[in-house]
């Protein structure tokens, strides 16, 4: 069976595209980095793909706010193409800056409501400032093409605008009641730390969201930065434990792309 194809969409300021490509390929996909200008010229490029990835970076410098201008370009040129792609059963992954873009286009958490007012955002960390450190995460029970329900993941974050916020309590509850807050920051069991386990003040400790189908998924942590054992900050002390939590995310998605493993193809 040929490897499923993945489109990694890049713009000026994208900077995690190469290692994201490596992560997909290690997981068994065939990934290609495509500049947004090319996709705008030929949106049909998506037809051959099983997944679309919006990788990390500082798209257009994160000027105005993180992912804002990239989101505006997607809204102007690609929204129909991407919504069509999702409806046909394609997977969408947004990592860090890519997650910010998915939220700011309205594709997360409800891709069917992109035209309406936005109730969710990703904004400045509380306390403010860029942070690079490792966090512990727990997957929820909602079916998601990328996550094993209930599993814990250790992954690095590297962002200054990762706080997930909702416009009001009902907007938050609508997401948590449906279980779309599918990845949350949790305290580490392995390492005692003085630092708060929720690194950015996200409401309900949200680290990642999926849509109701579980096929569109975005997260602030970087799964592509933990696909081999030596990327873990304590690998020299972990002995033979070579489990790479980030790779597990890409592998699960590739398994979902295989025939017979497809998730439901209609939105709820």
């Amino acid at each position: 069976m040929p490897a499923p194809r993945v489109c990694i969409l890049r713009v000026a300021g994208t900077n995690c595209d190469v290692e994201t490509q490596y992560a997909w390929e290690l997981a068994g996909a065939h990934a290609e980095r495509i500049h947004i200008r090319r996709l705008i010229e030929r949106p049909a490029l998506l037809d051959a793909c099983a997944a679309l990835t919006l990788p990390g970076g500082f798209s257009y410098g994160d000027d105005i706010s993180a992912g804002r201008i990239f989101a505006a370009q997607v809204q102007r040129h690609l929204l129909d193409a991407v919504v069509g792609f999702i409806d046909r059963g394609g997977l969408v992954l947004g990592v860090c800056n890519g997650f910010q873009v998915l939220v700011k286009t309205g594709l997360l958490p409800f891709p069917g409501e992109t035209g309406g007012p936005r109730r969710c955002s990703v904004t400045y960390n509380q306390p403010r400032g860029f942070q690079d450190r490792w966090v512990t995460l727990a997957a929820g029970d909602h079916e998601c093409a990328f996550l094993e329900p209930g599993r814990r993941y250790e992954l690095p974050i590297a962002h200054g605008e990762g706080r997930v916020v909702f416009s009001d309590e009902p907007a938050l509850r609508r997401v948590t009641d449906a279980g779309l807050d599918v990845l949350r920051y949790v305290p580490s069991e392995a390492v005692p730390s003085d630092e708060p386990f929720n690194p950015n003040g996200s409401q309900a400790d949200v680290a990642g969201l999926c849509d109701p189908t579980g096929r569109v998924f975005g997260l602030m942590p970087h799964p592509e930065r933990f696909v081999v054992a030596t990327q873990h900050p304590r690998w020299t002390a972990r002995g033979g434990d070579a489990r790479s939590d980030g790779l597990a995310i890409f592998r699960r998605a590739v398994a979902c792309m295989a025939p017979g493993r497809a998730l439901a193809t209609t939105s709820e």
């Binding site: 000026a12 290692e19 500049h35 804002r68 690079d132 590297a158 916020v165 005692p192 970087h222 930065r225």
Partner: protein
């Protein structure tokens, strides 16, 4: 024309405001301040023939500028008043005209792409302070902590809605400088007032050249010569002939031969006279030649000739490494100075060979103590905590945006960096081995890519040769630049795409457009071919630049490439795809329209504007006409010979991010007579060394840097369950291979006053030990030198520099470590306002320990400051190292791993007078033990001594140790050492017999404990307490 002002206001916690900003303002001069609310302003202008109306402007604000979940906006159009709420003080901070404003550029581009007819976009920041304050006081306070008047205008109240200022248009006219008529005083005045910074001798040479031509130079020609001959571009001091008189060099006979090592202390050495025909070539380059000739070291692919040095990584790739300083700009505008320092160094790597891909950044800062009394800062100097905070943010913002991990660095505190903080930026790149060589060919088009040219950064190259003073901020504000990292990312993506095109590399040469601007870039690339440039083709940020300004502007994010005509279309197509502006501005090689002095033959640099020749220079004169000087250097030791076997030094060292330093004020002092000693003297002393700013945790810096982007991270700056310091970074640049590189640094400015020779050796030793400690191969390690010195017109300062160079030579040859690239920054002195001299001396005195070497040499240093009115930095040498790691899976980190394992001290030599070959034996033995899998943890010992090293390992491992045996066997637990490591071994006997066979000294210090308590003889301390001592943040809660 229509003009709108859109204010973006956060809607979260509407009453609280920004407590962080309020805290800073209270400390800086408004203690009674209540809350502060910050907001962002956008000014959007549209043309008169197609003005945007209220509705479309509201749509722009709602759809693009505001985040509806957390923000709201207020819209004002021209003619409407800005509301100033009663009982509050409003302050606006506007970028000065012409200063880079990346957000405005992005918004403008996006609005135009969306089809809006927009003429200009500007941004500003607004602060609303609770309370009515007098305008001058607020302005001053805001200017001190939230703005920089060098690049920004601070307005109390409001600037209202003002149209964008239009730069004046000036008529084009070729201007000549009447050089030939000037006498010597006139030449000197022209050099100083024109910011040429050429010596009288050099000015005479230029005059003679034009006398011969029978004409006066144009302003552009004179500028070109000044840029090309600047210290920054040509390193004329390090390359000059030097006669050295003074104390002999301990390890070497002059001329590169390494003599018997381990001579007596330098105080006993005889006086000698040494002649260097070219200081750099006869010391540092000679060492590299000797190492290469002996077949030692890594395979060197390019040394000292390109923008970066290159060594072999594997059969397909080389590793390029460059380190630069950006001291002067960072002194005036720390954020922008450091950011553009990163940008320049990264461009050096992109512009090395036919383009290397940057894979890691490094940064080292030398600053005055961040708790400097706020009322004791001399005129013209920024507070050191503000400098440090600014440079850290600058490096973080620029490096993070570029997607290059910042992986290694150090911070070093010393009062004498007050006027001249040092900012070293390094960049490592990966380059295919068939892309190492480059040469522009006649007929190649000169293509300028990246950012547009503005008036920013004019005279940066010559400014860097000037001495700073209390008025420099005004005089040189034009030399300060603000960067736009995304423009540089576009350049990077575009250059790599053109390098790796399926038809082969599309260009034949590339270089950074950095110091000296086009003048230097085109001048260097065309040295052997000649070049013709048409300046009116250069894309400008705004109209009104004179031709000479275009030529020497150091506007950021630009590179120059030589593109063969047959590749031009394809090249320009790739630039369009990558959204990177590219413009043909001329041709390399002789041109049909040669200039006026063509009769002399040889390649020429011809510069035209609108068809008229505004510069025509002989490349031979430009590159080889600089008069060579012979300089005098002297060195007499002012110090007593150190007692044999003991290390007299107790000066502040550097604080590697990770590691291991202490400064005199924190060094354990003998209790004063009459005072009672503490119950736990060892523990108290250990806590003191850990909490010294030079040694304390740099986590607050490291966490702001993305050190993992690109996915190659193997050994991180902090590691283990306790996030302790590691010695070097290890990266795996090719994700599908197991080979890696270790990146490290070393510096020992604390030894500079005693003897720069030993400072150099200790810096090299430290850099090498840091590489070895993580698993790097000392036999495949290369180093870079970066000198920062005071005024080398002073023979004693130059004498110190000569000794440091000779130290580099001797270390390189003895260790088999080649130097592959280097840079120097001279004249790092600050001319003080006379009234500031005595108060400054008093403040510095308070930072010196009661005893120790710095106190002993202080009298002499203070006398010099009094006599000259200038504060000089201590001579500082940064050694950066890159070493090959054969298999990253064998890397070792510093955190303690397992209770019951043995803890040993391996090696350990006095820092002054040590035997270089004995030191190398230690490094090799430790590296071999790591390869053999015998070490579970390894950490280098530095200024804090072995006990501090062990404590850092305990912090990282969140484990304790019992070092009681070590305290008996190696009692001087805080003695700084060279060539020393603390290691954890599961099978100590195997290790010990190996070390015995290698003739390397070792001492059993004790055992690792899984319990989080450290046992020091009769004393105990918790690892948590050690961690608390070490975690004191520099500048925590300060200005």
């Amino acid at each position: 024309m229509s003009l709108y002002r859109i204010e973006i206001i956060e809607i979260e916690a509407p009453d609280a405001g920004d407590e962080r900003l309020a805290g800073r303002l209270r400390e800086a001069g408004l203690p009674e301040l209540g809350a502060v609310h910050a907001s962002r302003l956008f000014f959007i202008e549209s043309p008169a023939d197609a003005p945007l109306d209220d509705a479309s402007m509201r749509a722009i604000a709602a759809d693009l500028l505001v985040d509806p979940v957390v923000e709201r906006f207020e819209l004002l159009s021209a003619g409407q008043e800005v509301r100033l709420p009663p009982g509050k003080t409003c302050v606006e901070v506007h970028p000065r005209p012409g200063v880079m404003d990346p957000v405005a550029e992005s918004v403008l581009a996006e609005l135009r792409a969306a089809g809006h007819a927009v003429q200009s976009v500007r941004t500003a920041r607004r602060y609303v302070l609770d309370g009515a304050f007098a305008a001058p006081r607020v302005r001053q306070t805001v200017a001190r902590v939230l703005a920089n008047e060098c690049i920004e205008e601070v307005v109390v109240g409001t600037l209202g809605l003002r149209p964008a200022p239009q730069p004046p248009l000036r008529e084009f006219r070729v201007r000549h400088v009447e050089l030939r008529a000037l006498n010597e005083a006139g030449l000197e005045r022209l050099s100083r007032e024109g910011h040429l910074f050429l010596s009288l001798d050099e000015m005479r040479t230029v005059r003679a050249h034009f006398d011969l031509l029978g004409r006066d130079p144009t302003d552009l020609e004179l500028e070109t010569i000044a840029q090309t001959w600047s210290e920054h571009c040509v390193h004329k001091t390090l390359k000059s002939a030097v006669v050295y008189r003074g104390a002999a060099m301990p390890n070497s006979t002059h001329g590169g031969r390494t003599g018997p090592t381990g001579c007596g202390p330098e105080g006993e050495a005889a006086e000698v006279e040494l002649r260097y025909a070219n200081l750099l070539r006869d010391t540092i380059v000679r060492a590299t030649d000797a190492v290469v000739a002996a077949g030692r070291g890594p395979r060197c692919l390019s040394v000292f000739k390109d923008n970066a040095g290159i060594i072999e990584f594997d059969e397909e790739y080389g590793v390029a490494f460059k380190v630069e300083t950006h001291n002067h700009p960072s002194a005036i505008e720390p954020y922008g100075g450091a950011a553009t320092g990163v940008g320049g160094c990264v461009r050096d790597v992109i512009g090395c060979g036919l383009g290397a891909r940057p894979i890691a950044n490094t940064d080292v800062f030398c600053v005055a103590p961040s708790d400097w009394p706020a009322d004791a800062v001399p005129r013209g100097v920024l507070h050191p905590w503000r400098v440090l905070r600014g440079v850290v943010s600058g490096v973080a913002d620029y490096g993070n945006r570029l997607g290059i991990p910042t992986v290694n660095g150090a911070i070093c505190f010393d009062p004498r960096y007050l006027g001249n903080p040092l900012v070293f930026c390094g960049c490592v790149g990966l380059i295919p081995r068939d892309r190492v060589e480059k040469a522009a060919r006649p007929g190649d088009r000169i293509v300028l890519i990246g950012g547009r040219t503005g008036r920013d950064g004019i005279h940066g190259a010559t400014f860097s040769s000037a001495e700073l003073s209390d008025t420099h901020a005004d005089e040189f504000s034009h030399a300060v630049q603000i960067g736009n990292a995304i423009t540089e990312k576009r350049v990077l993506d575009a250059v790599l795409a053109a390098r790796d095109d399926e038809r082969g590399c599309l260009f034949s040469a590339i270089t950074d457009c950095g110091a000296g601007g086009l003048s230097s870039a085109v001048g260097e690339m065309g040295e052997h071919t000649g070049a013709v440039v048409d300046l009116e083709r250069v894309p400008l940020k705004y109209a009104g630049l004179r031709y000479d300004e275009i030529w020497i502007s150091e506007a950021q994010e630009r590179m120059v490439l030589a593109v063969p005509p047959q590749n031009l279309d394809r090249f320009l197509e790739i630039m369009r795809q990558e959204e990177c502006e590219a413009t043909v501005i001329g041709t390399f090689g002789d041109s049909p329209g040669r200039g006026r002095d063509a009769a002399r033959g040889g390649p020429r640099l011809i510069v035209r504007y609108a068809g008229e020749v505004v510069g025509d220079l002989d490349m031979m004169f430009l590159h080889n006409g600089l008069p060579r000087r012979e300089r005098d250097a002297s060195w007499t030791s002012a110090h007593r010979a150190p007692p044999s076997g003991l290390n007299p030094d107790a000066d502040p060292g550097a604080g590697a991010w990770g590691s291991d330093r202490s400064a005199p004020q924190a060094r354990p002092q003998a209790p004063a007579p009459g005072s009672s000693p503490p119950d736990t003297p060892l523990v108290s002393a250990l806590h003191a060394v850990l909490s010294d700013p030079n040694a304390a945790s740099k986590a607050w810096v490291v966490r702001q840097y993305d050190h993992e982007v690109q996915g190659g991270s193997v050994v991180k700056p902090l590691g283990g369950p306790g996030d302790g310091p590691n010695d070097a970074a290890v990266l795996r640049p090719r994700l599908d291979r197991t080979r890696g590189i270790a990146v490290a640094c070393g510096l020992a400015p604390g030894l500079s006053d005693l003897d720069p020779y030993w400072m150099a050796l200790n810096a090299v030793d430290e850099a090498l030990r840091n590489v070895v400690a993580v698993g790097g191969d000392p036999r495949r390690t290369a180093v870079l030198d970066n000198f920062c010195w005071g005024r080398v017109d002073d023979p004693r300062q130059l004498g110190g520099l000569v000794r440091a160079c000779q130290g580099c030579h001797d270390a390189g040859v003895a260790y088999g470590v080649p130097f592959i690239s280097g840079k120097d920054s001279l004249n790092n002195e600050f001319a003080l306002d006379a009234a500031d001299v005595e108060p400054l001396l008093t403040t510095i005195g308070r930072y010196l320990g009661a005893d120790g070497e710095s106190r002993r040499t202080w009298g002499e240093t203070a006398e010099r400051i009094r006599r000259t009115g200038r504060l000089s930095i201590p001579g500082t040498l940064l050694i950066s190292a890159v070493g090959i790691v054969e298999d990253v899976r064998r890397c070792v980190t510093a955190d303690l791993k397992c209770g019951g394992h043995a803890l040993l001290l391996v090696g350990g030599l006095p820092r002054v007078g040590f035997d270089l070959h004995a030191a190398l034996a230690v490094h090799v033995a430790v590296a071999d033990a790591i390869t053999a899998g015998l070490l579970r943890a390894c950490h280098d010992v530095s200024d804090g001594g072995w006990l501090m090293g062990a404590a850092e390992m305990a912090i990282g491992g969140a484990r304790g140790f019992d070092a009681s045996p070590g305290l008996r066997a190696a009692p001087d637990a805080f003695l700084p050492l060279a060539a020393a490591y603390v290691v954890e071994a599961a099978e100590p006997e195997t290790l010990r017999s190996r070390l015995d066979r290698a003739g390397v000294r070792h001492v059993l210090l004790g055992q690792v404990r899984d319990e989080r308590t450290c046992i020091l003889g009769d004393e105990r301390t918790d690892v948590a307490a050690l961690r608390r001592a070490w975690s004191v943040e520099a500048g925590d809660g300060r200005l």
